[in-house]
Amino acid sequence: KDLRYATGFAPNSTGAKAQEASAAYAKEISKGDLDIRVYPQSLLSFTEMSGGVRDNIADMGMVLFPYFPAEFPNSTMVSEMTMLFSQHDTGDRGGLAWTGALIEYITLNCPACIDEMTAQNQVFTSSSSTEYMMMCMKKVETAADMRGVRIRAPGAHWTRWANSVGATSVSVPQNEIFEGLSQGILDCSLSGAAELLDLSLVDAVKYIIRDVPGGGFGGTGLMNVNLDVWTSLTPEQRTELLRVGAHGSAYGSWNYRVNNLAALEAAEKKGIEIVAPAQDFLKATRDFTNADLKSIAKTYAEKYGLKDTDQAVQKMSELFEKWVGLVASIDSAEAYQELLWNEAYSKINVETYGM
C-alpha cells in the first residue's frame, strides 16, 4: 500500500527527519507492504494540511490543531494546557510526558475529539511535543523585568500569561523571528530549543530563560490519516500504522529532546546566558497557570459551546501527571515507544477506532 505523508516542516528539519525514519520503520514492520513517501513542505503547508488530508491530497499529514480551532475545538482546548509543564518541574521531559498524555487522552478518553476528526474525514494516530523556552535579547529574571517586553507568544495561553505580567504580545510569522529579534522588533520569542539551530536563532539570541513560562506546542496530530484510506485498510494494516504512529511519536519527541539539549549546549558555547528565573517569578507563573486552567474550561464552554470542559481539563491534568511519572526514567526512544504502546496504543480497538 503506497501512502503519501505530508508535513509542513522543511526538508532536513528535526521534524521531517523523524518522519523519514518512521517511513523506513513502516517498511520494515510491514515487510514492504506499507510504502510511505514523505513530502516535506512540497505537498502541503501547515495551513493547507487539514483540508489536504480531508480531501486526500495526502493520505496522511501532520495536522496542527490550533491552526484550525473551529474544526478541532476539543483538541485545541487541551493544547492550551501545556503550561502544566512548569507545574510539575518536568525539565527536559515535558514533551515526552505531554505526547503520551495527549495520545492517551484523544484515543481513549475524548470521544468528542474523535468525532471532530471524523467530521474532517480523518483519524488521529499520533503526536509529538517539545518544550518551548523564552529566548531574549535582554535579561529577564523577575516578573518586573517582563513589563513592556515585546514577545512573540505563539499560543493563546502564552499570550494571556504575557499580558498578565505586563508584556506586549507581538505577532511575527515564524520565518521572521530571526530578523525580529536581531533588529529589535522583538525582545523575546517563545520557541522550541531546536529552533536555535533550525531557525539560526543562536546567532541572534543573548539570553535563554528557563522554566518560565514553560509549556510547549501541545496540539500536534503527527500523522492524521484520511478516513477513507483508514477504512480501506485491513485491521492488520491499521495495527501496523498505529505502530508506525507510536514510532513517530516516540522518535519525534525523543529526538526533539536530544536536539534541544544539543542546541542548548551550542547556545552556551556561543556565549548565550541561560538564566534561572527568580522564585517569585516562578511562583507568579504557577499561580497564573492554575487560574488559567479554570478559565480555559470556562472560555471553551461559553465561547465555543463545548460540553463538560471542566471534566476534560481535569482528565487531561490527571493523565499528564501520570505520564510525568511514567517518562521520568525512560532512557531511550525504543523504551519510550514501548511505553506508549503498552499504555495507550495497545488498548485501541482497530476494528472500530475512528470510524
Partner: protein, 436 residues
C-alpha cells in the same frame, strides 16, 4: 504510463498551451488539475483546487508584494522619482546608457529594502522604464535592464529566498546574506558592463544627451532627489532601527511615499487612484500565476519528475567539478519553468546531501542557488520578473521583446555563475571577513 511519464507529459502539454497563448496562470492550473487527476485520482485534483487558491493568497509574507508595488507606483505617479532620474541624467548622461546604468544602481539601492526580486523589478520598473522610453532608449534595452536588475533584489539582503534556504539547509542566515551582498554587487557591476558594451557598440540603443552641465546645476539636480531619498532613508532607518519587519516595510514605505507626495503637493487623488489600480492589476495577475505555480509544484512533487531529472544528471560522473556544473545545469533548466521557491523545495532534499558530501560550503551553495534561481526569474518561458515588467509596460512592448532584451544580461549572469563555481572564495570572502 508511469508517474514520471505523466509528469513529463504534463510538462510537454504545458509548453504547448503556453505556445498558443493561454494565459500562464490558467495553463498551469489546467495542466496541474489533469495531471493530479491522472496520477492519483479526480477527488484529489478536485480537493486541491479548493484549498490551494485560498491558502496561497492568504499569506502574510506575500502581502509585502502589493505593498511594495504600491510604494513603487505611488513614488512614480507622485513624481517622487523624477528628481532621481533628473539627477541621474545630469550626472550620468556623459556615460553611454546612463539612464540604464542608473536603473541598475537604483535597483541595487532598492534591493537593500526589498526582499523579493519580483517586488524590486515592479517598483523599479514603474520608475525607470518610462523615463528610459521617454529618452528614446530602445524598448528591449529599457525593459531588459530593469527585469534583470530586479534579480539583485533577492541577492542583496534582505532576501526571502535565502531565508528559506537557511531554514532548509540549517545554515546561518546572516552569513548567507553577507555572501549574497558580494554576489549582488558583482551582478550589478556585470550588468553595468553589459550596458556599457552594448551602447558602445550601437549608440542608437541609448541616445546620448550631449551638453555640458555646470556643477551648480548638478548640485541642484542632486538636491531634487530628496523626496525619494527621504522615503528610502525612512525605510532603512525603520528596518535597522527595529521599527518594522521587511514584510511591513512595504506598507510603511508606501505610507511614507504618500506623506512625502502630499507634502510636495504632487500626490493628487487621481494619481493615487491610478497607483492603487495598477497595484491591483499587477497583484491579481501575479496571484493567479502563483496559484497555478503552487498547484504545478504539487503535481511535480507527486509525479517525482524533479528527482528523476536530478538523478539522471548526477549519475553522469563522480568528478566534483562536473557534478557541480551538472547541478547548475539542472537549476537552469528547472528555472525556466518553475517558480524559485517551488524549485528549491522540490530539489534541495536530493541536492543538499550531494553538495555537502562533495565537501562544498553550504553557505557558498546557498548563494549560488539563489543566483541560479534568480536567473530562472528572467529566462523564458516562465520568468516572473519579465512578466512583472510586462505588466508595467502594458501593450507597449511585447513579452518576446523583453526576453530578447534580457538575453545579453543572461550571458553575463552565466559568466558570473561560472566564476562563482570556479572560485568559491569570491562568495565566501565577505562572510568570512565579518566573521573574524
Amino acid at each position: 504510463m508511469t508517474e514520471v511519464q505523466i509528469g513529463f507529459a504534463g510538462l510537454a502539454i504545458l509548453l504547448v498551451l503556453l505556445g498558443i497563448r493561454i494565459p500562464i496562470g490558467l495553463a498551469l492550473i489546467g495542466v496541474s488539475y489533469c495531471g493530479i487527476w491522472a496520477l492519483v485520482g479526480w477527488n484529489v485534483a478536485w480537493g486541491a483546487i479548493g484549498i490551494i487558491p485560498y491558502q496561497f493568497s492568504a499569506n502574510w509574507v506575500l502581502s509585502s508584494v502589493p505593498m511594495f508595488l504600491l510604494l513603487g507606483f505611488v513614488s512614480y505617479h507622485a513624481q517622487l522619482t523624477k528628481g532621481l532620474f533628473d539627477a541621474a541624467k545630469v550626472w550620468l548622461s556623459g556615460l553611454p546608457g546612463g539612464l540604464a546604468i542608473s536603473a541598475v544602481l537604483g535597483s541595487s539601492a532598492f534591493a537593500a529594502v526589498c526582499g523579493s526580486s519580483v517586488a524590486c523589478s515592479a517598483a523599479m520598473g514603474r520608475i525607470a522604464v518610462p523615463e528610459m522610453m521617454r529618452a528614446r532608449y530602445h524598448p528591449e534595452l529599457a525593459t531588459g535592464t530593469v527585469a534583470v536588475a530586479g534579480t539583485i533584489g533577492a541577492l542583496i539582503p534582505p532576501s526571502i529566498l535565502m531565508i528559506l534556504y537557511g531554514v532548509i539547509a540549517r545554515q546561518p542566515v546572516p552569513q548567507l546574506f553577507l555572501g549574497g551582498l558580494a554576489v549582488g554587487i558583482l551582478s550589478a557591476i556585470g550588468y553595468i558592463t553589459v550596458i556599457w558594451i552594448r551602447v558602445k557598440l550601437d549608440s542608437a540603443l541609448a541616445p546620448r544627451v550631449v551638453r555640458h552641465v555646470p556643477l551648480s546645476e548638478k548640485m541642484t539636480a542632486l538636491a531634487d532627489t530628496w523626496p525619494i531619498l527621504l522615503v528610502m532613508i525612512g525605510i532603512f532607518a525603520g528596518l535597522f532601527g527595529g521599527v518594522f519587519t521587511a514584510t511591513e516595510a512595504g506598507a510603511v514605505g508606501a505610507f511614507l511615499a504618500c506623506v512625502v507626495g502630499l507634502a510636495k503637493r504632487t500626490l493628487t487623488w487621481r494619481r493615487f487612484k491610478a497607483a492603487a489600480i495598477e497595484c491591483l492589476l499587477t497583484t491579481s495577475a501575479l496571484i493567479i500565476i502563483g496559484v497555478g505555480a503552487s498547484l504545478f509544484t504539487r503535481f511535480l512533487a507527486i509525479s517525482g519528475v524533479g528527482g528523476v531529472i536530478s538523478d539522471a544528471v548526477l549519475g553522469v560522473s563522480d568528478n566534483q567539478m562536473i557534478i557541480m556544473l551538472m547541478i547548475v545545469a539542472v537549476y537552469l533548466v528547472l528555472g525556466c519553468f518553475l517558480e524559485p521557491i517551488g524549485a528549491m523545495l522540490l530539489t534541495l532534499p536530493i541536492v543538499l546531501p550531494i553538495v555537502s558530501e562533495g565537501g562544498h560550503s553550504l553557505i557558498w551553495f546557498g548563494v549560488l542557488l539563489t543566483k541560479l534561481l534568480e536567473i530562472g526569474m528572467i529566462t523564458p518561458p516562465i520568468g516572473m520578473n519579465v512578466f512583472v515588467i510586462k505588466g508595467v509596460v502594458g501593450n507597449l512592448v511585447s513579452l518576446t521583446a523583453i526576453f530578447r532584451g534580457v538575453m545579453w544580461f543572461l550571458a553575463m549572469d552565466l559568466f558570473l555563475v561560472l566564476i562563482m563555481v570556479l572560485f568559491p572564495q569570491l562568495t565566501l570572502a565577505v562572510p568570512q571577513y565579518f566573521l573574524n
